[in-house]
Amino acid sequence: MMMELLLGAGLLAFLGLIFGAGLYVASKKFAVDIDPRIEKIEEALPGANCGACGFPGCSGLAAAIVHGGADVTTCPAGGSAAYKKIAEIMGVGVVERPAEKAVVHCAGREVDTRFNYTGPADCGSAALIQDGPKACRFGCLGFGDCAAACPFGAIGMMGAFPRVDEAKCTGCGRCVESCPRGLIAVRPASKSVRVLCKSRDRGKAVSSVCKAGCIACKRCEKVCKFGAMRVVDNLAAIDYAKCTQCGECVKECPTGSIIDARAPRGTDVEPVKAASAGEVPA
């Protein structure tokens, strides 16, 4: 009895020793050198694997930063805190990259529908049917493809209209691709004067379907002292290189399609964060 137990235990201990020795040799002989910085950088990255950088996930980017010479500010979602950490790990000086936020260029909350759409409830599918059920063929379809695409939960749907929570938005740009109307752009957060319309229809056509759209009246063009406003293709466009954010165009715009994001606007929209400085447009 005793003998069998001892034999079993001894045999197992012996086998364990052999396998242990084998594993030890293998771990030394076949060891892959992993740069410890990759793991550290991966920790510093947001970890959403959003793919906005163009590399396969955060670990892919981390490896590219260490071995492939990718810039430490490649991650659009990272923000300055992450860039600083990564630069520290890599031992290089960091170049500041201004924070960027997603902006939905449509304010048409109250646009009529042209027909009763009963297909799949996503913007991409709705846009395929007769150019979408909304009376405005440029405006937001309101099914929330952008909200579904956001890896950071920064876009919420309020009354079938997307709302970007700038505190959560990292500017990764996933929503930009998701919008079949091309309404979303990622803009430097500091540029707060924006044209919230993408309609290239003539003014009369716009005002017949939407009260908040750009009617190409060119009043912004005339009032701008810096030549930053241009109406191209029936749509006001801001040249941010020239814009000083003086807010004159915001005051002048008769439909309110030019806004200053620093100021609270509308009745049904609560600003995401309490508005900082800045005048309230009349």
Partner: protein, 440 residues
């Protein structure tokens, strides 16, 4: 003895009884026609007239813009009053030329005069077809001159197939054309044979149209190498790949075209339009349109392009109970939101429906009915689930591009899933991804 046919398909109620007896009648031409430049697959034509210009019937008002494109001609004589975007059956507004009809119907020189085409070369025939704006009239409106001039690296065309299947429910426009003008179709077929150099032709007509089979067999009796074939009634028999399988037993490869198996398929309406264009100098400016469904008087109209749908529906006395207007048939047609949208070269029918099933779609129960029914041998259930989840790249791996959008899967689905819609969405996403990849 039943003939072997394609795999899959369905037998929806054909609902053709109400209009199959209605002889083709000329629809009145309204005072204003709106002719869209998007009359064909590919790039819309470039308008070559300006507001205020006088135009004659058959005058070129839009020129082909690119290789896959075609000319557009004025259906009336009169004056151009607008050149601007107008509603289009496919949805996106497209530039259209609005012409005020002066009711003189003054035509361009040579219009309707017989031409001796027998001496023309294949290249001359194709050039004529392009100049006359002939496109596929079965629905897809692929420019005919491109189809008849295959690239040199393809196998030679050994068979021309004339498609008279007309498998869509309700539609009887091709049927009436076959019964009333088989001579025109046969003349068009002779021109196609000349242009392609093919030694033989098969005319495929579904077995529920015996009058058409008889009429065409009689008209083609003197021609060697041409035979009129009865094909089984089964939707979508009129899909060109399905008809090739039925008539010749050949399988068009995945991602391929009929050209890859040495076949060119032309609809009966296209054949007739080719005869008109090449042998009679008449550009394509009219077509037969079935108006059926929730109307008091179902009819087959010969109507000019650019006539608003509302005018035809009014003439057929649209019932107040109508709730949906469809361009095309109930299986593949597109619902319209305005009756302002005008007839194009592809409008085989205008259908009013009073019953609209709007029960909500549910989850896929994996019953496999769509898999049995798919004539392209796809797995629509998988494609719909992937589409719902937005996994478009995987849809490409499941061969979404081979879907012919016939609608069988959505028709048989007990969960009422909009499967074709999901697949169209996936195809669109794949197209965009490809365009983006090509741009990089």
């Amino acid at each position: 003895l039943t003939r072997k046919t394609f795999k899959g398909g369905v037998h929806p109620p054909d609902n053709k009884a109400s209009s199959r007896g209605a002889a083709i009648e000329d629809a009145p031409v309204p005072d204003l026609v709106v002719v869209t430049m998007g009359q064909h697959l590919g790039a819309p034509a470039k308008p070559v007239v300006a507001v205020g210009d006088g135009v004659k019937r058959g005058q070129v008002i839009g020129e082909a813009a690119g290789f896959i494109s075609s000319n557009v001609h004025s259906p009336v004589s009169g004056r151009v009053v607008r050149v601007e975007p107008a509603p289009h059956p496919l949805g996106k507004p497209v530039t259209a030329v609005a012409i005020e009809n002066d009711r003189a119907d003054a035509a361009v020189d040579g219009y309707g005069l017989p031409v001796r085409w027998e001496g023309m070369s294949a290249g001359e025939i194709c050039a004529k077809i392009l100049a006359m704006g002939v496109v596929g009239m079965g629905g897809a409106t692929f420019p005919t001159h491109v189809k008849l001039a295959p690239p040199k690296d393809r196998p030679p065309i050994d068979t021309v197939v004339i498609n008279g299947a007309e498998c869509e429910p309700y539609l009887t426009s091709d049927f009436r054309l076959m019964v009333e003008n088989p001579g025109g179709i046969v003349e068009g077929l002779r021109i196609i044979l000349k242009a392609t150099g093919a030694p033989r032709a098969l005319v495929g007509i579904e077995a529920n149209k015996p009058e058409a089979i008889e009429a065409l067999a009689r008209a083609a009796s003197g021609l060697s190498g041409v035979s009129v074939e009865e094909v089984p009634v089964r939707y979508p028999q009129g899909g060109e790949k399905q008809l090739i399988k039925t008539l010749l037993g050949r399988e068009v490869p995945s991602g391929g075209l009929p050209l890859d198996v040495g076949v060119v398929v032309q609809n009966v309406g296209t054949a007739c339009a080719i005869a008109d264009a090449v042998a009679w100098g008449r550009p394509l400016t009219d077509r037969i349109v079935t108006v059926a469904g929730a109307v008091e008087r179902p009819a087959n109209y010969r109507t000019r392009i650019g006539v608003p749908a509302g005018a035809l529906l009014e003439r057929s006395n649209l019932k107040p109970s109508a709730r949906k207007i469809i361009f095309g048939g109930p299986m593949m047609g597109l619902a319209q939101y305005t009756s302002e949208v005008a007839v194009t070269k592809s409008t085989s029918g205008i259908l009013a429906l009073d019953e609209v099933d709007s029960s909500p779609a549910r989850g896929c129960i994996r019953c496999g009915k769509c898999v049995e029914g798919c004539p392209s041998g796809l797995v629509p259930s998988m494609l719909s689930v992937l589409g719902e989840a937005g996994r478009f790249i995987q849809m490409g791996e499941w061969d979404a591009a081979d879907c012919i959008e016939c609608g069988v899967c959505a028709y048989v689905c007990p969960a009422k899933r909009p499967i074709v819609h999901y697949i169209k969405r996936g195809k669109e996403a794949l197209r965009q991804a490809r365009a983006k990849g090509a741009a990089k």
